[in-house]
Symmetry: C2
C-alpha cells in the first residue's frame, strides 16, 4: 500500500458542511482504491452523517476528532493560534507530520492560508506560497496566481509564482509550454506600476518559463495566457470581479428574458443551453485552488462547494502527489537559487 | 451670450474619426442653442465632412486647424511635447487659455491624460487628477475613480479622489449623499494592502463624504457603492475586466444558443430583449470619463465612440460647467487643506 494517497478533508468547513464534504469523501473512495480519506471534525457529527452511506469501502475512510470550528469571520492568525483543536489546525498538522499528503477545506480562506504557511511550512527556498485558482476563459481555463494572503508582494515573489504556476499548468492541467503573462495596465513598454516594471525584466530573463509579456485585464477572459501572474490584491480583485460581473450580467439577462410572452417562450427554449454555458464560465466550478510551494499540499475549495467539487479536489490531490509537483517545484526553485548564486560570483 | 458653453471636440481622435466626432458635434448644436463647438483637426478633412450636413446652425460650429495627429501607440509624454500642432495639444491649449470650457476626445488616453495635466493644469491644491468613468451596475451606474495614469498613488490622493467623485456623482449623476467605498480584498478590518490600510482611517475621518467602508470587487457590479475609490492600476484592472468578462460571457451565451434548432428558435425570440439588456451593461455606453481636478474640463470618450456618445459627452460638459463642478471641487479641496492646517497648529 505504498502508493496510497492520504487526503484529509475538513468535514466542518464551508457553507454546506458537514453534508457535502462527507458525501464528497464517500463518493471519492467509492471511485478510487488508491486513496485514504481522513475526515477531520466533530466525531459524533461525522459518524452520524457517515451512517447515511452504508455502502462504501469503510477501510478507506478514517475519522479524526476535532472539537473546535474556525468561523469565516474570525481573524485568521488569532484563530489558528488559539483553536488548536479545530478541524483546520488538526488537519494541517497531519500534513505537517507527514501522516497525510494533502488537506482539503472549504472553510475560512484566511485560516487555511495562514495555517498552511505556519503549520505545514514552506518548501525550501520558496519565499511566499501563492493561492492559485483556475479561472474559466473562452478557451478553457487559466491559472490566476496569486489570490492569497501575500499583498504587497515583491518582484522575486512574482517570479517564483510564475515558475510554480507553469509547473502546475503543465503537469496538472496538461498545457504544454504554458504561456505566462503579468497583469498590467497596458501593453506598452512604459506601462505598469513600480512592482510590474521591476518584475517584467526578471520574468523576461527566466529561461524556464514561456513568458509572453503583459496582459491587460480585458484579455484575461479571452484566454490570452495560461498563467496569469499578479500580486494577491490584484488577484483578489480579478477573481471576485469575475464572479461579480458574471452573476450580475446573468441576472440581468434572465430578467430581460421575462419581459413579455414572446421572450418567455424563447427563454424556455434556450434555458438548458444557457445553463450549460454559464456552468462552464463559473469561477467556482473549476475545482479547488492549491496553495503552492508548501511541504505538503493544501487545497482551498469554494465556500459553497458541494460533494462533486470536494471529490474532484480529492482527485486533484492524488494527481498532484503522483506527479510529484512539490518535488518539481522544490527542484526548480533550488535551481534558480543556484543559478543566481553563480551569477553573483 | 455670457452663458454659452464652449466645447472643443477632437475631430481626429478615436477609431471612428473624423465621421463620428463631427456627426456628434452637428447633432449637439442642432439640439442646444447654449453651446458652441470648436472642431479641432485637419481643416480640409473637417470641412469636407461638415459639408455633408447642410442643415445645422453654422454659427455654433468653428474649426481650429491642427495638422498633426497623435496615434494611440505613441508614448504619450513624448507625443504631447513633440506634436505641438496636434488636435489634442491644440484643443487642450484652448482650455488652458480659457478660450474654451471643455475638451472632448476619443483619441489616445495616455496623451489626453498627460496633456490634460501638463497643458490645462491642476486646480489649486489637487495633487493628482483622476480619470473617473461611470461603470454599469445592477442598480444603475457607479463612478470608478481612478482609472487614469496615477499608478502607485498615495493615501492623500485617494482621499481627494473620494471627495471629487462624491461631488461628481451628486451634481452630475444626481445621486444624493453618494456612498463612497474603497476597493479591498476583503470586508474584514485587518484586510488590505499597505495603501488601503493607510487610506481607510483617513476616509473614515472625512466629514464631507458618506464613507461606507471597504468594497470587495464581487460587490461592485451589484451596485453596493456609488463612488468606488482605488488607485489607477486596480481601477484599470476593474474597468478592463468588466469589458472582458462581459464580452466573453456574451459570446459564450450566443454560441450556446446556436447549438440546435430548438435553441435557435428560442434565440430569435429573446434576441431583442437580450440586446437591450447587454446595452445597459456595456461599460462603453455610459458617456465620457472626466479627468477631474483640472482648471478646465477634459473628457475622454471611448476609443470606439460613435456620434451619440460624443453628443452626450458634449452635453455632460455643459452640465459640468453650469453646475460649477470645478469651483465646487476647488472649494472642497481648499477647505480640506485649511482644516488640516488648523489641526496641525
Amino acid at each position: 500500500m505504498a502508493d496510497l494517497v492520504r487526503i484529509v478533508v475538513d468535514a466542518m468547513g464551508g457553507d454546506n458542511a458537514p453534508v457535502e464534504p462527507i458525501k464528497g469523501a464517500v463518493d471519492a473512495v467509492k471511485e478510487r482504491k488508491d486513496i485514504k480519506v481522513i475526515l477531520v471534525g466533530v466525531e459524533d457529527i461525522i459518524k452520524k452523517e457517515l451512517a447515511k452511506y452504508p455502502d462504501y469501502p469503510k477501510e478507506q475512510i478514517e475519522i479524526l476528532n476535532a472539537t473546535e470550528i474556525i468561523e469565516t469571520a474570525e481573524p485568521p492568525v488569532f484563530a489558528v493560534r488559539k483553536k488548536k483543536d479545530s478541524s483546520i489546525v488538526k488537519g494541517l498538522n497531519l500534513v505537517r507530520h507527514q501522516e497525510a499528503d494533502a488537506f482539503v477545506s472549504s472553510g475560512s480562506t484566511g485560516a487555511v492560508l495562514v495555517g498552511g504557511q505556519i503549520l505545514v511550512g514552506r518548501s525550501k527556498g520558496v519565499e511566499r506560497p501563492p493561492l492559485a485558482p483556475l479561472i474559466p476563459t473562452a478557451k478553457g481555463v487559466s491559472l490566476l496566481i496569486d489570490c492569497g494572503a501575500n499583498v504587497d508582494a515583491r518582484p522575486s515573489h512574482l517570479v517564483q509564482f510564475a515558475k510554480m504556476g507553469s509547473i502546475y499548468m503543465e503537469h496538472i492541467v496538461g498545457v504544454k509550454n504554458p504561456r505566462v503573462a503579468i497583469v498590467n495596465n497596458g501593453a506598452e513598454e512604459e506601462k505598469g506600476n513600480a512592482l510590474v516594471k521591476e518584475t517584467f525584466p526578471l520574468l523576461k530573463a527566466c529561461e524556464d518559463i514561456n513568458f509572453i509579456g503583459s496582459i491587460e485585464a480585458r484579455d484575461i477572459p479571452a484566454g490570452y495566457a495560461d498563467v496569469i501572474v499578479c500580486e494577491a490584491f490584484v488577484g483578489n480583485v480579478i477573481l471576485k470581479l469575475y464572479e461579480g460581473v458574471g452573476s450580475t450580467l446573468v441576472s440581468k439577462i434572465k430578467a430581460g428574458m421575462m419581459t413579455n410572452l414572446k421572450t418567455k417562450i424563447g427563454a424556455l427554449l434556450v434555458k438548458p443551453a444557457l445553463k450549460e454555458t454559464l456552468k462552464t464560465f463559473d469561477a467556482s466550478e473549476h475545482g479547488g485552488a492549491p496553495l503552492l510551494g508548501l511541504k505538503g499540499l493544501v487545497v482551498k475549495t469554494h465556500g459553497s462547494a458541494v460533494a462533486v467539487e470536494i471529490k474532484n479536489a480529492i482527485f486533484q490531490c492524488v494527481q498532484f502527489k503522483q506527479n510529484g509537483i512539490n518535488e518539481k517545484i522544490a527542484e526548480r526553485i533550488q535551481k534558480a537559487k543556484t543559478d543566481e548564486a553563480k551569477q553573483g560570483e
